[in-house]
């Protein structure tokens, strides 16, 4: 055979191999298409979008996990935790767990992981969640350790779900691209073909069905959808509503994200009538099933119903353009500069169809007689507007925001957004400040009640924003696998939950 035909044959084989998705049908190997390639997959970045899908509970496990449905704290690597007072918690570790490199899971390893997460030598983003708290870990015996929080934290069990226990040999100064953990999957490789994981046969828990998993990164929603359609991938994340056209494969789920439009309280937005008018003049129903998926839920507050502190008594603002126009007129008569242009700030690549949504909302607001101008900003520029310290002089602005609180408690939202000292707060309401401060130190029903009360005041008396929707994600799941996304699927995607379709 001449070398020429040899090359041709090789070429043909390559094409056939590439075009035949059946090539890996024999083993339980799956491929997951996600939008963004992460910068690293370190076990101390388990709360970061894109990294979490790959790492969290797949490679690196946390001490506790939250129940996707009711946010209840469940044991993972920790089997027991108790408050011993003074901010000190005693944590008992699971027996018989080893890291992928063969090292045993013990108290020392956890202490190392906690120290690494807190060190300044490497920027662990999970630290953001417990930013103002100093955690000190101390090993008591092989399977027991003490964690001291300063100041004391009532939410320590939730905090434990942020602590990814990375292998003790993980570099203290480098973010890892080949993490070692205790999870049901271990890292194989990361290259142009994506990130490959394989099943960890020494896993302490139930043996998952999927043997090999590959995460590939494709920026375009249409392409991710197409990959599942053609059988090149089995699961595709973040399919935009217009690409989710196959009810057999596409699954929508509330993803924990809530959207709103924040007011910068400068004239005319400093007048409550205008803020009410903006809420009344926004037809929340119009965007459901059109611009957004028909599964999105109009929101009354910035947290989801499953979160502790959610006030179920609040009502969605009705669409009442007449009343809104009346309020604007009243304000105008009262001397409020309602003609002044109000900037409506969006951020590029925030969530699917955001631009369209803003244009639709802008038009609704124009119709009630307000002068709203859309400005789309690149993230860095947008960030300069939303974080304190704010610029000394600010004009009337409305800023599109999105927030996820998947941590079960309103505390992760309230202080930051609504306390007068909160980094992104526009409010200065002593009553709300008091309720937040109080609730943060409380537990149980009282905590819930205080947060609910704060949310009531915010939503009805202060009106610092236009609540929009609890958002959904669309996931496309191919016919080879069974997977039902849950409320945490965008932050904690357990490959163990996936089963292969029986032939």
């Amino acid at each position: 055979m001449s070398s020429k035909s040899g090359i041709l044959q090789a070429f043909a084989i390559t094409i056939m191999a590439a075009t035949a998705p059946a090539a890996y049908a024999q083993t339980a190997s799956i491929k997951i298409a996600v939008p963004v390639e992460p910068a690293n997959i370190d076990g101390c970045n388990t709360t970061v979008n894109g990294i979490n899908l790959i790492v969290k509970e797949n490679i690196v496990e946390t001490l506790t996990v939250l129940d996707p449905n009711d946010s209840k704290v469940l044991p993972r690597l920790a089997t027991k935790w108790e408050d011993t007072g003074n901010g000190v918690w005693r944590v008992t570790l699971r027996d018989g767990v080893t890291f992928h490199d063969g090292k045993p899971l013990n108290a020392d390893a956890v202490v190392k992981a906690v120290e690494r997460m807190q060190s300044t030598g490497v920027t662990c983003l999970d630290r953001t969640k417990i930013a103002n708290v100093k955690l000190t870990a101390k090993s008591i015996d092989d399977k027991t350790l003490e964690l001291k929080a300063d100041p004391a934290q009532v939410l320590m069990p939730v905090f434990l779900s942020f602590i990814g226990v990375v292998g003790p040999d993980t570099s203290p100064t480098q973010l890892s691209r080949a993490p070692v953990g205790t999870g049901p999957y271990q890292f194989v490789s990361w290259n142009a073909d994506g990130v490959q994981l394989k099943r960890n046969d020494g896993y302490w828990g139930k043996k998952p069905e999927v043997e090999n998993a590959t995460f590939v990164f494709r920026g375009e929603s249409a392409l991710r959808a197409a990959m599942v359609k053609t059988g090149e991938a089995d699961i595709a994340y973040s399919i935009s509503p217009q690409d989710a056209d196959d009810p057999k494969m596409d699954k929508a789920f509330l993803n924990g994200e809530t959207t709103r439009i924040r007011f910068i309280m400068q004239p005319p937005l400093d007048d409550i009538r205008i803020r009410q008018a903006l809420n009344l003049g926004f037809d929340r129903g119009a965007l459901v099933g059109t611009v957004f998926s028909d599964e999105v839920v109009p929101a009354t507050q910035f947290i989801l119903p499953k979160i502790n502190g959610y006030n179920p008594d609040l009502k969605v603002w009705p669409y009442d353009p007449k009343q809104a126009m009346k309020l604007v007129q009243e304000a105008k008569t009262a001397g409020v500069p309602v003609d002044r242009p109000i900037r409506l700030i969006g951020r590029t690549n925030f969530f699917p169809n955001q631009g369209e949504a803003l244009q639709a909302i802008q038009q609704m607001w124009q119709q009630i007689g307000l002068n709203v101008k859309i400005e789309m900003m690149e993230s860095a520029e947008w960030l300069k507007l939303v974080n304190k310290p704010y610029p000394a002089e600010r004009s009337a602005m409305m800023i599109q925001e999105m927030h996820d609180n998947n941590n079960g408690d309103a505390a992760f939202t309230m202080y930051f957004r609504y306390h007068s000292k909160g980094q992104q707060s526009e409010m200065n309401n002593p009553q709300v400040d008091g309720l937040i401060d109080k609730a943060m130190a409380e537990t149980g029903a009282q905590r819930t009640k205080d947060f609910q009360e704060a949310n009531r005041i915010i939503a009805t008396d202060v009106i610092p924003a236009v609540p929009m929707y609890h958002m959904v994600s669309q996931m496309r799941v191919g016919p080879r696998v069974n997977y039902m996304p849950n409320a945490l699927s965008t932050v904690q995607f357990e490959l163990s939950d996936i089963t292969m379709t029986k032939k």
């Binding site: 217009q242 690409d243 965007l287 169809n353 038009q363």
Partner: protein, 310 residues
Amino acid sequence: MAHQILSTPLADAPMPENRFKIILGMLWRDKFAFTATIILLVTILSAILGPWLFGDAAIVMNLRARNAPPFDLSRGFAFILGGDSLGRSILARIALASQTTMLIAAATVFCSLVAGTVLGLVAGYRGGLLGEAIMRVTDIIMSFPSLLMALVILYVFSPAISNVIIVLAITRIPLYLRTTRAEVMEVRTRMFVVAAEVTGASTFRLVFKHILPIIAPTLLTIMTLDFAFVMLAEASLSFLGLGVQAPDVTWGAMVAEGRAYLSKAWWLSFWPGLAIALVTMSLNLLSNWLRIATDPLQRWRLEKPETQNV
């Protein structure tokens, strides 16, 4: 003059009173250029009259007409090309967008053409260290990431259409500069340039009267091709949030927005894409015509036949 054959027609015919008529006649004789001119005129007219013609159809949303299919007259003529993802008439939006699109493309091409040509003339005519320096600056521009440039300009100035024009114009300068320089280096050695030089013509005169008219046709052709490029480049800037801002809209931005709906509603990005392609083609055909019409040597091809004894 005992014997000489002038095979080219003599332009001794009395100067017709109406120049416009001659030009129109020359256009009419090139059917492609004629069609192109009509397309461009329609574009310009729609840029001027579009908002008046369609009223609010380009702005008013009607979520019931979301992604309305084309060629369905039940919603009125404005929806002949279908509705976009917010139920606005695509036809009306194309008309509305033609304004911004043309403004950006024309201004960008003009700015880069002027800057590139002037620098290219200097580099080609003066040469030397200055010329070399200019060429190296173009190397720098060519290697500078345009997205970063866009960001910098956005951060230094406030967002505006002019930013888009500046960014795009800077990135397009090297093209004109290099072409001009290469052509100038050739044209400046031609005899008629030397003849003018020894008569004492100033550099300004040599450059603008003798060199520039000769290289203009080449630049014209590049310009028309670049027009399309600028429209597309603007689209990718919009895509990154660095382009025009709503409610301003361009064809490029429409294509970019519509791309999300390609599998479901192809018409969202197809029509504005077609508009870009049509304008590009028209400009190209017209520039070919213009090249012939402004060249005394070729002009006869477009002139009225006097004797048709074939």
